[in-house]
């Protein structure tokens, strides 16, 4: 599939000396929903800000629909809509005025019918005369989205769209994003909720400490996320793994006091019963055992520390 955004070797070091991005390469496919996952401070917002023209890249370049975002900024930016993470709004403006302002700013002639459609879609029509300062946080978030959609962008960036948003609005937002995709809009969203990426994305990219650690189809990543680990603490240390336990692909800790068994929680049988039977046949006594699902943060950490393949 043809890519709509091509990021080539983009790095960013801020004046403070902090390196937010280290030579990131990424291609976003036309019409997909791409989720960029990463812990706080990973570089998600910096990457989006560079593509949208809010931050200058230290090196590298970005193409949006084939045009350079710096050299041909007019063409590139008119394709892109951005919903930033912070709820930054003009407090004294009305909903209608602020959304119309955005449309004009992006060079589009006034189109009250279109603005009405966007406001209705986002359940903002009744609030069109309200001043921004009178709106709740969730409503403000909707207005931010309406502003980003006001100029009919082909690419939409949603930076942490559901941070601090109630369940209803989150569902609405997911619904809206799907609708946009049906209209052919490419959507790039950042999040640190794995659930959100699971629900929405076609592909997922994980970014950590300014590096893109992985880009994968959602289905494959979910497979990995489904893995659980069982830690078995042994009464007496083992020097090596008994041959009969080989099929379980166990990992023996360095001191020989702990066995780690990785299994797929989505599978019908976890294999735990077989493993425990095998251990008791070998008279290996257990002091303790615990199973746990990798949290997103642990997945990030394991991805970061994963050896280069």
């Amino acid at each position: 599939m043809q890519s709509i955004i091509k990021i080539q070797g983009v790095s960013k070091t801020y004046a403070s000396g902090f390196t937010a991005l280290k030579s990131v390469d990424l291609e976003i496919r036309r019409g997909e929903i791409f989720a960029l996952l990463g812990p706080n401070g990973a570089g998600k917002t910096t990457l989006i800000s560079i593509i949208c023209g809010i931050v200058n890249a230290s090196s590298g370049r970005v193409l949006a629909d084939g045009v350079d975002i710096v050299d041909d900024y007019r063409q590139a930016r008119s394709l892109i809509g951005l919903v930033p993470q912070e709820l930054t709004t003009d407090a004294f403006e009305s909903v209608w005025d602020t959304v119309s302002f955005s449309r004009g700013l992006f060079g589009k002639p006034a189109d009250p019918d279109y603005i009405e459609k966007v406001l209705r879609q986002l359940s903002l029509w009744d609030k069109r005369h309200s001043k921004m300062l009178a709106l709740s946080g969730g409503m403000k978030r909707r207005v931010m989205i309406a502003k980003a959609l006001s100029h009919e962008p082909r690419i939409l960036f949603l930076d942490e769209p559901t941070a601090g948003v109630d369940v209803e609005l989150r569902r609405d937002m997911w619904e809206m994003v799907r609708g946009l995709r049906e209209d052919g809009v490419t959507v790039i969203l950042t999040t640190h909720y794995i659930e959100e990426a699971e629900e929405m994305a076609d592909r997922i990219g994980v970014i950590n400490r300014g590096e893109l650690v992985l880009v994968e189809d959602k289905a494959e990543l979910i497979q990995k996320l489904g893995q659980k680990q069982l830690h078995l603490h042994l009464q007496t240390p083992l020097t090596e793994l008994p041959p009969s336990l080989k099929p379980f692909n166990l990992v023996l800790s360095e001191e020989g006091t702990q066995l780690t068994y990785t299994f797929d929680a989505h599978q019908e049988t976890s294999g735990i019963a077989d493993l425990l039977r095998g251990l008791s046949e070998l008279n290996i006594d257990l002091k303790d055992l615990q199973s746990k699902q990798s949290s997103l943060e642990e997945i990030f950490v394991s991805l970061v520390h994963r050896p280069e393949s």
Binding site: I54, G104, L105, P109
Partner: protein
């Protein structure tokens, strides 16, 4: 050219002016009127003419300049400082608008507001003082040039300022004293040495005198020099603004 973009910024700024009519238009006109009442009508009647002009009329160009400078600066600086402060500047930065278009919107609106205030002050002055305008074309030219130049200067201050105090410091601590000491209320020829010579280093002297020449055909410095100084300051401001957009100074990391 993104005409819709310019219009959007311009209209946004003018809406802000409309919302704050008391503070942005009425209050500067009122405070300048007080000067006319006190210095023009009350004290002015007891003062002699300067260069053949009654005192009340003599101070009009200077007073007009005083409000023009401070209003242009404060309006333009706030216009760009506030989005920077609140974060809404993200939208302007991410929009397909060129630096020129951004300036045309913000500075154009600030200059428009200054011109409105200038016109209102002139009309109000008429109530208290009798005056005439010898060179209407040049009067308008100086009015326009000053409004534009100092709106640009305000834009620079707004970009530079990191907080509300910095936003106020230049207009209050630099521009107001320079205007008061720049011959708004007196002819600089009335000053003894070395003050007379020192005053010639005050750029506002040239603005006020150019303006006064346009009104009454007399001034302390030659009109060409006034025009040259105004244009020079305009050029300096344009250069600084060009540099701001080229480097992204304090607006784009």
């Amino acid at each position: 050219m993104n005409i819709n973009g310019i219009r959007a910024i311009y209209r946004f700024e003018m809406n802000r002016t409309r919302r704050t009519l008391m503070q942005s238009i009425i209050s500067p006109v009122l405070s300048t009127s007080l000067y006319f009442i006190v210095f023009g009508t009350a004290i002015g009647s007891r003062m002699g003419e300067i260069d053949g002009i009654s005192y009340g009329a003599f101070i009009i160009p200077g007073l007009l300049m005083l409000s023009l400078l401070s209003e242009s600066i404060s309006n333009a600086s706030f216009g760009i400082f506030f989005p920077k402060f609140s974060g809404t500047i993200y939208e302007v930065l991410s929009a397909p608008v060129s630096p020129f278009e951004i300036l045309a919107g913000y500075v154009g609106a600030a200059a428009t507001k200054s011109l409105i205030i200038g016109a209102l002050i002139l009309l109000t002055a008429r109530v208290f003082v009798d005056y005439s305008i010898a060179h209407p074309f040049w009067m308008l030219a100086f009015l326009l040039l000053t409004a534009l130049t100092f709106s640009l200067f305000g834009f620079i201050i707004g970009v530079w300022a990191n907080d509300f105090q910095q936003l106020q410091v230049i207009p209050l601590m630099v521009i107001t004293p320079l205007t008061f000491l720049g011959g708004a209320f007196y002819s600089i020829n009335m000053l003894p040495e070395p003050w007379h010579t020192l005053t010639l280093f005050n750029p506002v002297v040239y603005l006020i005198n150019g303006f006064r020449w346009a009104f009454y055909g007399v001034a302390d410095v030659h009109m060409g020099l006034s025009l040259g100084m105004t244009l020079m300051f305009l050029l300096i401001c344009l250069t600084v603004v060009w540099w701001i957009f080229r480097t992204g100074y304090r607006i784009k990391p």
